[in-house]
Symmetry: C2
Subunit: 335 residues, 2 copies
């Protein structure tokens, strides 16, 4: 039986992460992980005319690189699970169109990297596809235009604000043996703590991360020590503090294991990124460039990867709705 507890799956034949690729913008290339990414853009337009087309190009490049690294033709990819942050997921539509592969479009805000890896792993494990691609992206400029203000407005950002990562991460999952595999998933629920500040996404997402991590530990009957790292997507410094506190109240101390992709990707002291990085691309490129190679080498043995999403739009925000969160957990192990 592959269902585990109330919200998790443990794969009997765990799918492998055959390859992955990360493509990022200039600022991400200048950050602490800069040397690890597969491709760093000279500017953030990637040769295109608009920020949205630039984001589409990020996805296309990451997907093409990942498929190339897997040593297969794109026709051998059965499905793509893809998403981004933009309204009606246009970065994904226009980015992945040319690949000509059946597409399941996803939306889970910045948790989409976890959602896409979960569904791709489920699809491979069930035998519905031998190779499946999971792709997500975000772009600082297209996201600012979508959610906040156009860059030209030059608005001030509070210290709790995060900086949307310009980047796309792509992962080829399959049955072919590699050095890392997805052994389980814990799918998140929408969690609403009534946060109404669109400039403090960390606080909005921390309760969802807490709920998913807690349920993962319960469903798999594990303690935080069973993971080398528990890695959230983009809580940033503000959200990290809240997450650790909330999980302590529920009886688990993850302060030793916890890392956050949003904290890792920038040097907040020199890069003026305030609370940290965010966006679907943030967790995807950090997993691909930093954590996955450590899992493949065996310097990490088992991680819980938990991309976190803040579920809002400008419409919901302006209508006075709160900002609920969602987080999808993926257990990845050295193989």
């Amino acid at each position: 039986m592959s269902q585990k507890g109330t919200q998790s799956i443990q794969f009997e034949e765990a799918p492998y992460i055959i390859s992955s690729a990360s493509v990022v913008g200039k600022k991400e290339g200048e950050g602490p992980l800069g040397g690890l990414f597969d491709m760093v853009g000279k500017d953030d337009l990637f040769g295109e005319d608009t920020w949205e087309e630039a984001e589409s190009t990020l996805q296309k490049e990451a997907a093409t690189l990942a498929v190339g690294k897997a040593g297969i033709a794109k026709e051998e990819i059965r499905y793509i699970f893809g998403g981004d942050l933009l309204g009606q997921s246009i970065a994904t539509t226009f980015g992945l169109m040319e690949l000509n592969i059946p597409l399941f479009g996803l939306y889970g805000a910045c948790s989409t990297a976890g959602e896409s890896l979960s569904l791709a792993a489920m699809t491979v494990a069930a035998g519905f596809g031998d190779q499946v691609l999971a792709v997500t992206s975000s772009h600082f400029a297209s996201a600012e235009k979508q959610f906040r203000f156009p860059l030209e407005y030059a608005n001030q950002r509070p210290l709790s604000a995060t900086w949307t990562v310009t980047g796309s991460g792509a992962f080829v999952l399959g049955k072919k043996r590699s050095k890392a595999r997805i052994t389980g998933v814990t799918t998140g629920k929408v969690v609403d703590f009534g946060i109404k500040d669109s400039m403090n996404m960390g606080a909005a997402m921390a309760p969802a991360a807490c709920a998913t991590i807690y349920q993962n530990l319960i469903d798999f009957d594990r303690s935080p020590d069973d993971y080398d790292k528990i890695i959230t997507g983009d809580l940033g410094y503000v959200g990290q503090e809240i997450l650790i506190k909330l999980l302590r109240e529920k009886g688990f101390d993850i302060s030793k294991q916890h890392m956050d992709c949003g904290i890792e990707i920038y040097d907040s002291k020199t890069q003026d990124t305030h609370s940290g990085g965010s966006g679907c691309g943030c967790s995807a490129v950090t997993l691909s460039a930093s954590f996955l190679p450590q899992l493949e080498k065996g310097t990490l043995h088992r991680i819980l990867f938990v991309p976190t999403g803040a579920l809002l739009s400008t419409v919901s925000f302006h209508e006075g709705q709160s900002v609920p969160g969602i987080a999808h957990g993926v257990v990845i192990e050295h193989a």
Copy 2:
């Protein structure tokens, strides 16, 4: 082996559609299918203050009704696959939050009903969930505000325009025997014919519907006569004509079998809906209220249900991008 051809799955143990529910607005209630829906709103606000909250309420009501009809508690639903047309899928977030069930958020424009049924069926067939819910919605007023003009602007609509259905359809899939089951799926690719008219979605989506139907017939080695009906989502009168022509050019005549939910749901002569209905809700409520009961009775034996989506946002449209389409095919049979 459950993989079939290049884009399809044939389920070895086909999941059942245990129950379904449809909730619609006033205009849909006055249409030819009016008497068949489970719930018709007195006005289109459903007791809420905004159109977006009204759409969320549609989802909540449809989901709750479907779960109730299945005779199970909501805690017995393992996952929801849900989506809508609004930026960042806010109708889904706020509509399904209170159900407190793990959520996979989807975006496939008006094809989302097919995408959600496909992934729900795959999840049940793989043993990852005993009961899984697929929910989608659209709302005329929230969609006009999102994609075109606020209602207060009272713009003129060309005859090729469709009318977004106010409605939500929900389906509980599971292993428990019922009178209808999903025996296969054909997942669509993004297809771009370069259409740039956001008031002619039928023309934008017809090539995608053609591609998916063609591939379904090839993958399953079937002719159109192997289906009692081939039912697209919301091509309308304009798209229907194009679809039949395109498939004829590829060697298949579906003129006898073809129906379109967008054509069925309104009386275009008296309801001023021009080319027909559209939206994620259009195909979902028409399947739930009209076609599924016929499959359960056995007056229909096997249908190919093909919700169709137009992949655009106001940003992509204003930046001069084309409107690509996508269509997801679901084979549903009397059991």
